[in-house]
Amino acid sequence: MKYREALRAALQEEMERDATVFCVGEGIGERGGSYKVTEGLLAQFGPGRVIDTPLSEAGFVGLGAGAAIAGQRPVVEILFIDFLLQAMDQVVNQAAKYRFMSGGEGRVPLVVRTQGGTGNSLAGQHSQSLEALYYHVPGLKVVMPATPRDAKGLLKSAIRDDDPVIFIEHKLLYMTDGEVPAEDYLIPLGQADIKRSGSDVTLVAWSHMVVKSLQAAELLAAEGISTEVIDLRTLVPMDVDCVLDSVRRTGRLVIAQEAIKRGGVGSDVAAIVAERAFDHLRAPIVRVAGWNTTIPFNLGLEKASVPQVDDIVAGVRSVVQSGAAAGT
């Protein structure tokens, strides 16, 4: 099943199960959304639950929050995570804080589905990886699935969660294929997944970088380097124990992230490990991450601006070498 079909199946199942679940966004009805995730839902659930909106990102994200507070379970689609910046006040000041500021009484079971990342020459305002912005905001959960199976199971959990969830897809993943269980299943928020076991080095990634990291691990294996690839899957809550356990075994950590390095989530992973598994570290922690630049339009420059498989391979190699020198 394709990633986008898995997302669609999650929406469909949850909408069938729970009449309070509905979808709202630009062109998600008849047109089925820009990435065709919501295709067919209008026909099945009607215009009262699959709602096309004007270009009012702040308005309909806030509307989602209001509907959620009033008992519904909205799934708001924002075409590009870049546009979610227009709704930043609604996300951060309203949805994220409502539960706490109401003394715990109010709940905001809102899901904002959106997508980010490079890959299609869409230039600076349609290619950003902005998860770090939401990661820093108390009250939000942040989910970034890399496979069809995870996408389905996590979206269902996100919809059932009583807190606002920023659910970030990647434009290069929609057409990827993967096994999805036939039976009904959930993947709980907050569980990382070891996508490949290894013993020499821990490689942490999420979203599309998991795909590249697995390719890198394959190449590294050919060189005799055994790489453990951890897919965080949810950034908030983060499965810190999974990462710490792995680093305690391997003694080395590389983080692969598409977002720019400065202030990215990878820095947090590095900081957590430098704080809590310091004594197990045998090498510097390396972040393989995007350059400090607006994403360029030209395809060659775009590719150069974010990590490719080779960059990850080089990053892992560097810690294995330096670790060998320093540690053993």
Binding site: G48, P54, G66, I69, G71, M101, S102, G103, G106
Partner: protein, 320 residues
């Protein structure tokens, strides 16, 4: 307005007096250092909350503003737990975590005050959408301010409500200033209600210091909303009795302007209506005394209530 009977006038009077005294006593507590942070008094604007709330049902929702004590009280919040919240106490509506700008309660369907000007508008539209999806009979009253009308979220929320015929009534409290900036410097239109036409919804401008007029102005918007005909904008003209918040002396308010509006105080207007309706002073005095006790008791309750426990807070936070 001839259809408004003495009973309704009396109950509106009682709520106006409740808000008035609540604010005055809370300000006194602020001066004593028992209340901190931002405090935007509703003094002088009570007729809007009172008139609007008299017109709606308990199951209807409201969203409120940064100047929200009056909305909350009129919607049915208990003064004691309101006061406790302003004191930052565990017994307050938000367990001391929200304070003046974030008072909310499911029990009375107040979706919340807001520290962001205009911050409740899209939430109101969303709650109205929820009602529509559930085919409920309720409406949402979205209180907002003249200042909020310059903000993008005002525009987007009005428009979304309009295109989807959502059961929401935007009650714009035009007190003619955003802090010190007069609305005439922020909008080149005589009445903000004229903007309603741009969204294809009805808009009116009324005297916001007369609770009976506000009550009356809500009737057609309520009928429309409950009939599925969509939102309306009700602009209520009013004026603050002082500065923007309790630490603002408000020296920029032209003294004659302020005096003119003080002479048109919501309490004065209601008392005149009560007199015309033949209600005698004794009934009013009885109310005044009851309200005085209620608010005094609220202060006592807030004073006696414990602060939230830091340990509990940190334990909660650790699990977030």
């Amino acid at each position: 307005m001839s259809e408004i009977g003495a009973d309704l006038l009396l109950s509106m009077y009682e709520m106006t007096e409740t808000i008035r005294r609540f604010e005055q006593q809370a300000i006194a507590q602020y001066r004593l250092g028992n209340i901190r942070g931002y405090f935007h008094p509703y003094l002088g604007e009570e007729a809007i909350a009172v008139g609007a709330m008299a017109a709606i049902e308990p199951d209807d929702y409201i969203v409120s503003t940064h100047r929200g004590h009056g909305h909350a009280l009129a919607k049915g919040h208990e003064p004691r737990r309101m006061m406790a919240e302003l004191f930052g106490k565990e017994s307050g509506y938000c367990r001391g975590r929200g304070g003046s700008m974030h008072v909310a309660s499911r029990s009375v369907r107040n979706l919340g005050a807001n520290g962001i000007v205009g911050g409740g508008l899209a939430i109101a539209a969303g709650a109205a959408l929820a009602i529509k999806q559930r085919e409920g009979p309720e409406v949402v009253v979205a209180f907002c301010s003249d200042g909020s009308s310059a903000n993008g979220i005002w525009h987007e929320s009005m428009n979304l409500a309009a295109i989807w015929d959502l059961p929401v009534i935007f009650v714009l409290e035009n007190n003619q200033y955003a802090v010190s900036t007069p609305i005439r410097d922020s909008a080149r239109v005589e009445h903000l209600s004229q903007r309603a036409a741009g969204y294809g919804m009805p808009g009116v401008t009324v005297d916001g210091n007369d609770a009976a007029i506000v009550y009356g102005a809500m009737q057609e918007p309520l009928r429309r909303a409950r009939a599925g005909e969509g939102p309306s904008l009700v602009e209520c003209l009013t004026y603050r009795h002082g500065g923007h918040h309790v630490n603002d002396p408000g020296l920029y308010l032209p003294p004659e302007e302020l005096q003119r509006w003080k002479a048109h105080d919501p309490l004065i207007v209601l008392r005149a209506r009560l007199a015309r309706a033949g209600v005698d002073e004794a009934a009013i005095t009885l109310i005044d005394e009851r309200v005085e006790r209620l608010i005094d008791e609220a202060v006592e309750f807030a004073t006696a209530s414990p602060n939230p426990s830091v340990e509990d807070f940190l334990a909660e936070v650790a699990t977030l």
